[in-house]
Symmetry: C2
Subunit: 530 residues, 2 copies
Amino acid sequence: MDMLWSGWGDPTRATPLPDTVIGLLRDMLGVKPRSAEPVTLEEIPVPDSPLAPAVREALRGAVGSAEHVRTDAESRVRHTRGKSTPDLLRIREGDVTDTPAAVVLPGSHDEVAAVLGVCAEHGVAVVPFGGGTSVVGGLAPASRGAFVALDLRRMDGLLDLDPVSRTATLQPGLRAPHAEALLAEQGFTLGHFPQSYEWATIGGFAAARSSGQASAGYGRFDEMVLGLTLATPSGTLEVGRAPRSAAGPDLRQLVLGSEGAFGVITSVTVRIRPVPETRIYEGWRFDSFEAGSAALRRLAQDGPRPTVLRLSDETETLIGLARPDAIGSSDPQGAGCQAIVGYEGTPQDTAHRRESAAAVLRACGGTFAGSEPGEHWAAGRYSAPYLRDSLLDAGAFAETLETAAFWSRLPELYASVRQALTGTLTEAGTPPLVMCHISHVYENGASLYFTVVSAQGEDPVAHWEPAKHAANEAILAAGGTISHHHGVGTDHGDWYVREAGPLGVEALKAVKRSLDPAGLVNPGVLLPVD
Amino acid sequence: MDMLWSGWGDPTRATPLPDTVIGLLRDMLGVKPRSAEPVTLEEIPVPDSPLAPAVREALRGAVGSAEHVRTDAESRVRHTRGKSTPDLLRIREGDVTDTPAAVVLPGSHDEVAAVLGVCAEHGVAVVPFGGGTSVVGGLAPASRGAFVALDLRRMDGLLDLDPVSRTATLQPGLRAPHAEALLAEQGFTLGHFPQSYEWATIGGFAAARSSGQASAGYGRFDEMVLGLTLATPSGTLEVGRAPRSAAGPDLRQLVLGSEGAFGVITSVTVRIRPVPETRIYEGWRFDSFEAGSAALRRLAQDGPRPTVLRLSDETETLIGLARPDAIGSSDPQGAGCQAIVGYEGTPQDTAHRRESAAAVLRACGGTFAGSEPGEHWAAGRYSAPYLRDSLLDAGAFAETLETAAFWSRLPELYASVRQALTGTLTEAGTPPLVMCHISHVYENGASLYFTVVSAQGEDPVAHWEPAKHAANEAILAAGGTISHHHGVGTDHGDWYVREAGPLGVEALKAVKRSLDPAGLVNPGVLLPVD
């Protein structure tokens, strides 16, 4: 099934907001129904593909068949940008300025290499395309010349599974649920469940340093990766000969997070674990975000480590009660902040960790809220992007952004990003709701994930820009990283070069020049075009 | 105190082998007493420093004082090469072909940068020098021109400790025991205890991707590092803004393992943990290396994870009984393989892990051997290099090498490296004892650490070379990495370029060109000189 071209996911799962919520949006935030209907896919004026016939022919040769080189309007619209809110707003307006000249579907590493060869010969840029779920402009190259979207969906196999070493080698175009199904046939799981789980791909996880909702237990995706194959315009790079090594810098960590700017990931070897026999998700309540954060920190630092560990701030906890599918389902008396704590593993292991963690959470002021909030969270864990579509349909603006920092910097980071978003949007006449949660914890710090909902401005994309800008400035000023798990793309480029510093950027540009001398893979993504 | 110039560690701790062991060496391996006495430090014919007076003067300016630019013979001998067995054999012969032109002792990041500036101006190579414990030729640059040893011992401070985030920022010249003492004052430990612990430095750990004996519990050094400052000829690179990030490739992992070839590490921010209240080290016995390996794998994959986890093969277990300080101290009936299993942490946590791990070890065929082997191991954990000195003194040859691989490759790797060492040295007329242990385990694989003892050949350095060559070939052929924790240096360069592959090497060379355009920092270490 194809993803909804103008929004998220399975079109049949879209659910309009109930009237009560629309009323709340109107009364609280001044959200007004949209005046115009969005365009339909058929209405979008996609210009003819600028690809020269000779290039098209050469690409067909590279992938072995005409059906794998697509230049029809629908294919190209469906590969236009990603799934950030500005992306959705623009495609809903029929803006196809970032549309690829063609969509090419290679079936193997060698075909990827052949496509790169053709593109290098003809000076055509290449944008790797997995699930198309980037929310940071990772699919919109900076150069406005013709480019090819390299859709990896045909490369969706499990190449190898080593049950002794507990490793699996996966192709990049495998969507996460399909990867999990293939692993489950042999009793294993990857344990990577980001919000984009249902649509995102293995290659995308690696390219963007994804982190899933069970990262407390399974680690980040970049911690799961043991080996990678990268097809570059200069040839093939294979990295990861042993789980750990002192043979030079860890080149895996140079490919992870490279966002297609060094080449195309054509296989990923990952750590796998037995499918857990037991899964428990529960709710806890804290009087404040500060108290809850301290409890999460204690578990992250001294253990026992739950598999899932999340904490909503006061606003997100409060609004959670008003979510369309949640009204009345949470404890209405529960003020403060809600945490979700999950355990996956063997019955003995989960029982032991659950008991010990409960003692810690209680000692930190937590109150057990039963399994209902946990089950509710688990049931809806992939549905937030559908809710965003409904909010946009209802005329509201909704977007998310995220960062991470060391624990001691977290309170200031939290306060200043909230202030930046609230101040900017209030000044612009659309006072927002700003919600936040911690969803990834480490011994030395944690992530902060913000959700912003407000009325749309006259030009919603332009209206959001100063707020996003102010949030990014606040993140850098308060010691945060410009992205904990969404990536850099083109949207975060200006802040990324400040975070990496001139020498860091120069080193990465040097790597890019050596692997992609003509600058043809994902130009302007991650690294600025000179 | 200065390290023994011709061997390891504290000269007062040297202990000659008992006659019984000398007899065993003679009868088992044909070791003969050395015919000549080694040279004394004073006898070594160190040529005058080739450093031009203007350069010397400029270096004095960079570090603020004449006493921090040393060109005397003793200082230069003490900074000649590292502590591999060939290094020791050569310096004992008075071979000073790799002697630096001067030893420069900067006191700060800015002074390091100033030294790099002077050296760039005058085209003088710079070799960073921490504890001087490299065993892979990391201190002997390939270019035979004059070079400066940059000794970081004056930079030995704790710059910052954040008890909330549990991070500490350390200077590179801090030796590990001093670092532990500074952290312990505030209740923390780094938990990094490699065999070189008593002499090696924080900067060296980072540069060479060190791994300590408690890596099962505390992780490798490269997993502890959260931030780094690198002084390069092109300027300063600062990396590590958050514990984890999706903002591009992890540049920390590019600096870690760079072995001075990109610049000089001038500060390291590490994860710290509370000093453990409890430390328990115990012995276990297995019928075979295979059975013991399976037990280690089960703990590494399914837990609980001990803090220390080591397993000696049959030969190492057997020879352990004959070690000079160990005769009669281990269970004389215990055949098979000995494992050391350690737990550090709170009393509750260690008790729980110990009980659960014991059940796993028993289920895997292990027999509990009591605390004596564990205590014995802990007492002697840093003494093996002293034993090597005694073996060399007695006319024997002794060297170690190490690798790592995925679990499923480990049996073949073990067999083929043993075979390579045994075959080569037997053919050369000096049949060796080859011992091996696993001392670092991961979910997906483990390290193998080999110790070789034999008679010395006529020219011991040249005699060893084919055996080392054969072992390296066996490692690559069997899917191992050329180093798990010793590093690449100059000794492993030829195999490293094959392991990293042409594109991997090209990418790293590109980084080096951007950070060190003139190729002056550690030329030929890690990366070949063009």
